[in-house]
Symmetry: C2
């Protein structure tokens, strides 16, 4: 499995993904699940993937081919599409095509599915964040629901439900997604380090920060321990 | 869905279940999911249920009939079985029979499944807690893993992973299961108030406490708010 989470805030967007891929419990590998397409200053698009690796790798490889093709058009390249809505539609169509192709090769009952979070901004447009389903349809983050999750989303949802609003600062947002991931890592073996973190400040139209957090990263470990301590401390002080 | 959790501790056992049952999202009802069978001082057995209501109600009704039947034997009645292991086997067998009967009535693709947590003690025996799968097989809580969950278990697992050990006191254990439930209630609509809480002190061989916690219960609300406050406070103090 996987855990990816994206926050859409007044100040910008924060994205976090793990890197664990497993085929069964005895075949575990590390694969990047965060992909960036950008023309700095004009547009930035970040895609996070969950689901069957054969589907997500093929879809991302084709997307890269199209973007690199000088003959690509507004209708096919996410770096030329006129709006973020069109970007989501192009990615959704590609995902559903790849999924259908791969499903044709499999026998009944074998599943190959994937979902994506797509976050980005074009110069002159709004920041937008979409969750794209395997069939290519999608939903969008809003003020009421400023975060989207794919993969093993349940363990890390309670903390987001409690602390994230559109007014959350980019710094607190990084803390929130890292703690949400920390809860997931502790409770589910199929989600694992290292992590990929990206921050996109509003109207930068470029990645503001991109960081890989390795297993044993001292800052992450310290934060994780401080959070455990805060939880135990809070727990011990509550009276019933 | 449902959320039920049971802790097996040195001092005793603590059990908590919600009461929400839904057939789709537009058909929501309240049903008790915690059932107690006891001969106070000699044995106490508590069963919590998750899954298809037709399976769990039928299984619990048959269990009650057997227990009330003066002709029932050691091999059929959980109030006469010589050990808690035999109790788990009797319940597992009954559950798998009811499930198979009901599955026969349904068309392919319609599922009717259920799982149970069974916790109890006989005079002279140990406290034991089992998670019984739909097929009737089961696993048991141990020192390494002192809690069992059924239903929507993921939201409420991180808090248990962090604070529960076999040495946890019965008072702290009640707090832990209530906070685990609180996280689940906030993040998942299919789990709902009121709650049923049971405490079984070691070697009492009877229910020590049984309490229904209604929606709006002032103690639960206060605890829930204090926990939200502690989380936000802890969150704000962590530095990254």
């Amino acid at each position: 499995m996987t855990y990816c989470v994206g926050l859409l805030l007044k100040e910008g967007m924060v994205l976090l993904s793990d890197t664990r891929t497993n085929a069964g419990l005895d075949n575990i590998s590390t694969y990047r699940k965060m992909f960036v397409f950008e023309t700095p200053g004009e547009r930035v698009i970040t895609i996070m993937t969950a689901g069957s690796l054969s589907v997500t790798q093929t879809a991302m490889a084709r997307m890269r081919d199209i973007v690199d093709d000088p003959d690509s058009t507004e209708a096919t390249s996410i770096l030329k599409a006129p709006t973020m809505l069109r970007v989501a539609e192009i990615i959704g169509k590609l995902l559903s095509e790849v999924r259908a192709e791969i499903a044709d090769k499999l026998s009944m009952g074998q599943g190959a599915s994937a979902s994506l979070i797509v976050a980005g901004q074009r110069a002159g447009g709004d920041m937008r964040m979409f969750l794209i389903y395997p069939e290519g349809n999608f939903i969008e983050a809003t003020e009421d629901t400023p975060f989207l999750q794919i993969g093993e989303h349940k363990y890390g949802k309670p903390i987001l439900d409690r602390v994230v609003t559109p007014q959350t600062s980019l710094k607190d947002a990084q803390k929130a997604v890292l703690l949400s991931m920390d809860s997931t890592l502790r409770s589910n073996l199929s989600v694992g380090m290292p992590l990929d973190l990206a921050v996109i400040r509003k109207d930068a139209c470029a990645l503001t920060e991109r960081r890989r957090i390795e297993a044993g990263d001292p800052v992450f470990l310290k934060m994780s321990e401080a959070w455990s301590h805060a939880l135990r401390d809070g727990f011990s002080k509550i009276e019933i």
